[in-house]
C-alpha cells in the first residue's frame, strides 16, 4: 500500500492550507523573512500551485539591519522564481535613526512590528502567511493555524476561534486580517530534514564559516558592517560560527560550530542542548515577551 512519509504529510498539510487561503481570502501575501522557515514556505508555495506561480506577492519587512547576505539572497530568490517581492521599511523609524544599539526593545517594535502593520495597512492584505512553528516557543504552541487578528492587528489569545479538523474559518470583516501558519506542525528537525531532502537553497549564514565576531553577554555577535558599535575593549575576532536563526545581525547570536554541511547541521541540531530561540537576543528579555509582542501585532 502507498503511504506518505512524515515529511510528505507535513508538506501535503501545508499545501492544503495555502490553497485554502488562496481560494477563500481576498488578498493574501506571504511574509518572507529570508530564513530557513521562509525558504521552506516558499518552496512549498512553488509546489502548491504548480504549474501556476504562487498567486500572491511576497513581503519582506526590512529593518535595514539584516545581514548583508540576507538581502542579496532575497533578491536572488525573487529573480530566480520571478516573484513579486515587496520590500517595506518603516521610513519614519529610519529617518529618526532608530537602531538596535540605542533603542533596545523599542527598536524591534518600531522597525519590525510597526513596520509590518504599516505594510499590511498600505497594501490592505487580508491574509498573511508566516513561517512560525509551534515548537518554537510556548505562546506559539498555543496559536491556531489560522490566527485571527483584529483591525489593530492584535492577537487575543484568550478568545481564539475554534479550529476543527481542517475546516478553516476564513471569514473576516473589512480591516481585519488572518495570519496563517502553514508550518505550524513542523519541528526544527523536520525543517532541516526537508531542506536536505528537497535540496532547498538557504543563505550560507546557516553554515559554519570563519566570520568576524564579538562575544557579548553570552552571545556571539557577527560584525557584519561598520555600523556595529563595539564596547570598550571589544575587538572582533575570526571564529568559525554559524547561525540557527537569521534576523538583525546585532541581535542574532551565532554558535561556534564546525557544521558546514547540511548533514553536519542536522546532526548538531539533533544533539543540541538548547532550543533555537535562545539565539534571539530579544526573546530572553522577559517571560511572556513573545506573547506580549504578538498581542501588539508582531508575527
Amino acid at each position: 500500500m502507498n503511504q506518505l512519509s512524515h515529511l510528505d504529510e507535513l508538506e501535503a498539510e501545508a499545501i492544503y492550507i495555502m490553497r485554502e487561503v488562496v481560494a477563500e481570502c481576498e488578498k493574501p501575501v506571504m511574509l518572507y523573512s529570508i530564513g530557513k522557515d521562509s525558504s521552506v514556505m516558499l518552496h512549498i508555495a512553488l509546489k502548491a500551485f504548480y504549474p501556476e506561480k504562487p498567486p500572491f506577492p511576497f513581503l519582506h519587512v526590512d529593518t535595514t539591519w539584516k545581514f548583508k547576505e540576507m538581502i542579496q539572497f532575497r533578491d536572488h530568490m525573487a529573480a530566480k522564481y520571478g516573484l513579486e517581492m515587496l520590500v517595506y521599511t518603516n521610513e519614519e523609524g529610519r529617518s529618526q535613526g532608530i537602531n538596535p544599539f540605542d533603542h533596545g526593545s523599542a527598536y524591534t517594535d518600531i522597525m519590525k512590528t510597526q513596520a509590518l502593520k504599516q505594510a499590511l495597512d498600505k497594501y490592505q492584505f487580508t491574509a498573511a502567511f508566516g513561517g512560525g512553528r509551534r515548537d518554537e516557543e510556548k505562546s506559539r504552541a498555543k496559536e491556531r493555524i489560522f490566527s485571527f487578528r483584529n483591525s489593530a492587528h492584535a492577537w487575543d489569545p484568550k478568545n481564539q476561534r475554534p479550529e476543527m479538523w481542517k475546516l478553516f474559518n476564513t471569514k473576516i470583516f473589512k480591516g481585519e486580517e488572518t495570519r496563517v501558519f502553514p508550518l505550524s506542525n513542523w519541528t526544527e528537525k523536520d525543517i532541516w530534514q526537508y531542506i536536505r531532502r528537497e535540496n532547498i537553497e538557504i543563505p550560507s549564514l546557516y553554515f559554519a564559516k570563519e566570520r568576524p565576531v564579538v562575544y557579548r553577554d553570552g552571545n556571539i555577535i557577527m560584525v557584519d558592517d561598520d555600523r556595529m558599535r563595539l564596547m570598550p575593549g571589544e575587538k572582533p575576532v575570526m571564529k568559525k560560527v554559524r547561525f540557527r536563526t537569521l534576523g538583525c545581525y546585532p541581535l542574532t547570536g551565532g554558535i561556534e560550530s564546525d557544521a558546514d554541511t547540511l548533514d553536519a547541521i542536522i546532526e548538531e541540531t539533533l544533539s543540541a542542548v538548547s532550543s533555537e530561540r535562545t539565539s534571539r537576543v530579544i526573546d530572553n528579555e522577559a517571560a511572556g515577551s513573545m506573547e506580549r509582542r504578538k498581542r501588539e501585532g508582531y508575527f
Partner: protein
C-alpha cells in the same frame, strides 16, 4: 516502528494533564537545556515553592500562568527512540470545552486523566463524550495522583469499574486504564515499584506501541476541489487533497454534485514542481492537481470521485457541539463549511440535546455553549457528503455565524434526509423576529418628511444604496411606486390624504414584519397623519427623519417647477404655499441640506441611524 501518533490529554481541572506531559518530556530527556533551566527558574517563583512544576512547560500564555490553569490547547512535538508524537494538551475547565474539542478533532488517541482521589467526574464523562463525537477511536484513562491514595489497588479497581460502566455506550477500538502519578513519575516512563500489582507497563510504553492506523477499506476515490488552477489558456487543473482511495491516469471519474463524467488526463503530485512531470497515479493524503480529458463544470466545493458512494443532498441529521456564547435557536441561518464547500444553512429542528452526564435525551428548543444535540440541518444548495463514521473529512462540518463570523459549532453528519422523509420544522411559528434574524437586520421604517424640493427622494435613493451595499434588505416607498399603483384611486382631498398615509403605513408594517427595512419619501405635511403612521408601524420601528431644508431654499431649487406653478395658483393645496407644513416636534433625525453635499447629508443620517437599527 509505529508511525506518528497524534494524541491529546484531557480530563477535569487539576487532574494533572499538563504535569503528566511535562513529566513525560522531562523524563524522556526531550527538553533542551534552556527549557529545563527556565522550568526550574519558573518553578522557584511559582506557587509550588521549589519543587519542579512540570505544567509550566505547557501553560504558555500569561493568563494561564497567572491563573494557574490551561486555557487553550498547547501542541508539543517529541520523538523517542520508538515513535514520534504530537501531543495537544487541552484545558479542563468547562468554560474552555471548545478548546478541548479543537484538540480532539486533531487526535487519533486521547489520554483522559482521572483523579484517583475523586474518581469519575462529570468532566471525565463530558470529555469522553466529546472524544467519541469528534471521532477518536482509541482511549487511555490515566488514573492519576495514585500517590494521594497510597497506591491503593482496590480504589483503582473501583474506578476502573466505573470507567467501564461509563464507556459501555461507546464503540472505541481500544481502551486502556493505567494507574499513574504524574508528579512522582510512577508508571509514566518508569515502572512504578509502588504498584507491583499493575503489570501492564508504563504509559509511554503503551503510547509507543499502540496501532491507531485505520483498516484500509476500499472506500473509492474522493478529492474535494480546493481551487481551479489556470496558469494560461492551455492548462486547466483541479487542485485538492486525495481524501480516500487512489486514482490512475485514464480512470473515469464523476464530478459531484453535477454528475458529469470525464477521464483523468494527467495527475501532478507534490513532486511535479521538481520533476516537471505528471505521475501515473495518486493516493490518499497526497496534494494533487488533476487534469481531465474534457471540459466539465468543476469549481471549488465540487468533489471528484470514483466508486465512492457519496450522498448528494441538501438535508441531513447531525450531532452538534455548540461552541458560541450566543445560544442556538432553531430557524437561524448560518454558513456551513463541509470539505471545501461553504453554503448558507439553517438548523431546522433541535431533536434533542444529550445530557453529558448520563447520556439522556432532553427535549429543548435552545442550545447553549458546550452542549451537544442532535439536529436536522437544511442547506440552501446541494452539497456532497458522507456519514462521519465512514469519512471524517466528508462528514465533519462547522457552522459560522453570519453576523459575527464566529465558528459557532462543529458537527458530524449522522445520516442524510431526503425530501420525502417526514421532515418537520421545530414546532415554532416563523415570526417577525425570526425573519429579521434570518436577514441579520432590525426591520424599521425610515420615514422621511419635508417640503417638496427638500431633497427627500435623492437622499432616500442614496441611503438605500448604502444600506444595500452593507448587506441589508431594503425597499423604498415613494410617489412613483405608491401613487401609480396601490393608491391610484386616491385624489388630494383630505379623506384621500389620510387614506394615502394609512395605506403607506400599513404596507410599511407588512414589509417590516417580513424582515425588510423600509424607506419612505413623502411630504407627509401633517403631524396627525405621521402620528397615525407611527401608531400603525409601531413606535419601536418608526424612525422619523425631518429634512428641514427651509422653504426659501426649496423654492430656489424648484427642480420640477412646482413652486412656480403653485405660486401662480395652478396647484391647489401645495404644502408650504397654499397649505401648511407642520414640522415634526421631536424627529429622531433632523438635517437641513442647505449648503451641504449629498454625501455629507447621507453620511450624517447613516451615522444617526446606527443607534436605532
Amino acid at each position: 516502528m509505529q508511525g506518528l501518533l497524534k494524541f491529546i490529554t484531557c480530563g477535569s481541572v487539576d487532574d494533572g494533564k499538563s504535569t503528566l506531559i511535562g513529566h513525560m518530556l522531562y523524563d524522556a530527556k526531550l527538553l533542551f537545556a534552556d527549557q529545563e533551566r527556565a522550568l526550574e527558574l519558573d518553578s522557584k517563583v511559582g506557587s509550588t515553592g521549589g519543587a519542579v512544576d512540570y505544567s509550566l512547560l505547557l501553560d504558555g500564555l500569561m493568563a494561564e500562568r497567572e491563573q494557574g490553569i490551561t486555557i487553550d490547547v498547547a501542541y508539543r512535538y517529541f520523538t523517542t527512540d520508538n515513535r514520534s508524537f504530537i501531543v495537544a494538551d487541552t484545558p479542563g475547565h468547562e468554560e474552555y470545552t471548545r478548546n478541548m474539542a479543537v484538540g480532539a478533532s486533531f487526535a487519533d488517541l486521547a489520554v483522559i486523566l482521572v483523579d484517583a482521589s475523586k474518581g469519575v467526574l462529570v468532566q471525565t464523562k463530558r470529555h469522553t463524550r466529546i472524544c467519541s463525537l469528534m471521532g477518536i477511536k482509541h482511549i487511555v484513562y490515566a488514573v492519576n495522583k495514585m500517590d494521594l491514595i497510597d497506591y491503593d489497588q482496590n480504589t483503582f479497581k473501583d474506578i476502573s469499574r466505573n470507567i467501564k460502566k461509563m464507556t459501555a455506550e461507546y464503540e472505541f477500538d481500544s481502551m486502556f486504564i493505567i494507574p499513574v502519578s504524574a508528579t512522582e513519575g510512577d508508571n509514566i516512563t518508569n515502572v512504578s515499584p509502588k504498584m507491583p500489582w499493575f503489570k501492564k507497563g508504563t504509559l509511554l510504553n503503551y503510547l509507543e506501541n499502540i496501532d491507531v492506523s485505520t483498516e484500509a477499506e476500499d472506500t473509492g476515490f474522493v478529492m474535494p476541489v480546493q481551487r481551479v488552477c489556470r496558469p494560461d489558456r492551455t492548462f486547466r487543473g483541479f487542485q485538492g487533497q486525495v481524501e480516500s482511495g487512489s486514482i490512475s491516469e485514464g480512470d473515469e471519474i464523476v464530478s459531484l454534485p453535477s454528475g458529469e463524467t470525464a477521464k483523468v488526463k494527467a495527475i501532478y503530485n507534490q513532486n511535479a514542481f521538481m520533476t516537471g512531470k505528471s505521475s501515473p497515479f495518486a493516493f490518499k493524503g497526497q496534494a494533487v492537481t488533476i487534469q481531465l480529458d474534457r471540459e466539465v463544470d468543476v469549481s471549488r466545493g465540487c468533489m471528484l470521485c470514483k466508486d465512492a458512494g457519496l450522498v448528494v443532498g441538501k438535508m441531513f441529521t447531525a450531532k452538534l457541539l455548540w461552541m458560541d456564547d450566543t445560544k442556538l435557536v432553531a430557524g437561524k441561518n448560518y454558513f456551513l463549511k463541509i470539505g471545501t464547500k461553504m453554503v448558507p444553512a439553517v438548523v431546522m429542528n433541535i431533536k434533542y440535546k444529550i445530557d453529558v452526564n448520563e447520556g439522556n435525551h432532553v427535549q429543548t428548543d435552545k442550545l447553549y455553549k458546550n452542549e451537544i444535540a442532535v439536529c436536522d440541518i437544511s442547506c440552501s444548495d446541494k452539497i456532497v457528503f458522507d456519514e462521519f463514521k465512514n469519512h471524517k473529512e466528508l462528514g465533519g462540518f462547522i457552522l459560522i455565524d453570519r453576523i459575527t463570523n464566529m465558528t459557532s459549532a462543529c458537527g458530524v453528519v449522522e445520516h442524510s434526509l431526503r425530501r420525502d422523509d417526514n421532515l418537520t420544522w421545530h414546532n415554532m411559528d416563523v415570526t417577525r423576529e425570526l425573519r429579521a434574524e434570518q436577514k441579520a437586520q432590525k426591520p424599521v421604517t425610515i420615514w422621511l418628511t419635508g417640503l417638496s424640493g427638500a431633497g427627500k427622494s435623492t437622499i432616500v435613493n442614496e441611503l438605500e444604496k448604502k444600506l444595500f451595499a452593507s448587506g441589508k434588505h431594503t425597499m423604498v416607498l415613494d410617489g412613483d411606486n405608491i401613487r401609480m399603483g396601490l393608491n391610484k384611486n386616491l385624489g388630494f382631498k383630505e379623506q384621500d390624504r389620510i387614506e394615502n398615509i394609512r395605506r403607506i403605513a400599513e404596507v410599511s408594517k407588512l414589509m417590516n414584519d417580513a424582515g425588510i427595512i423600509v424607506l419612505t419619501s413623502f411630504i407627509s405635511p401633517f403631524r396627525l397623519d405621521r402620528r397615525n403612521a407611527k401608531d400603525i408601524i409601531g413606535a419601536d420601528s418608526f424612525i422619523e427623519v425631518y429634512i428641514s431644508t427651509p422653504l426659501e431654499e426649496c423654492e430656489k431649487r424648484d427642480v420640477k417647477g412646482l413652486y412656480k406653478k403653485a405660486r401662480k395658483g395652478d396647484i391647489p393645496n401645495f404644502s408650504g404655499i397654499s397649505s401648511p407644513y407642520e414640522a415634526p416636534e421631536n424627529p429622531q433625525i433632523e438635517i437641513d441640506t442647505t449648503g451641504k453635499s449629498l454625501d455629507d447629508t447621507v453620511n450624517y443620517i447613516m451615522g444617526q441611524l446606527e443607534q436605532y437599527m
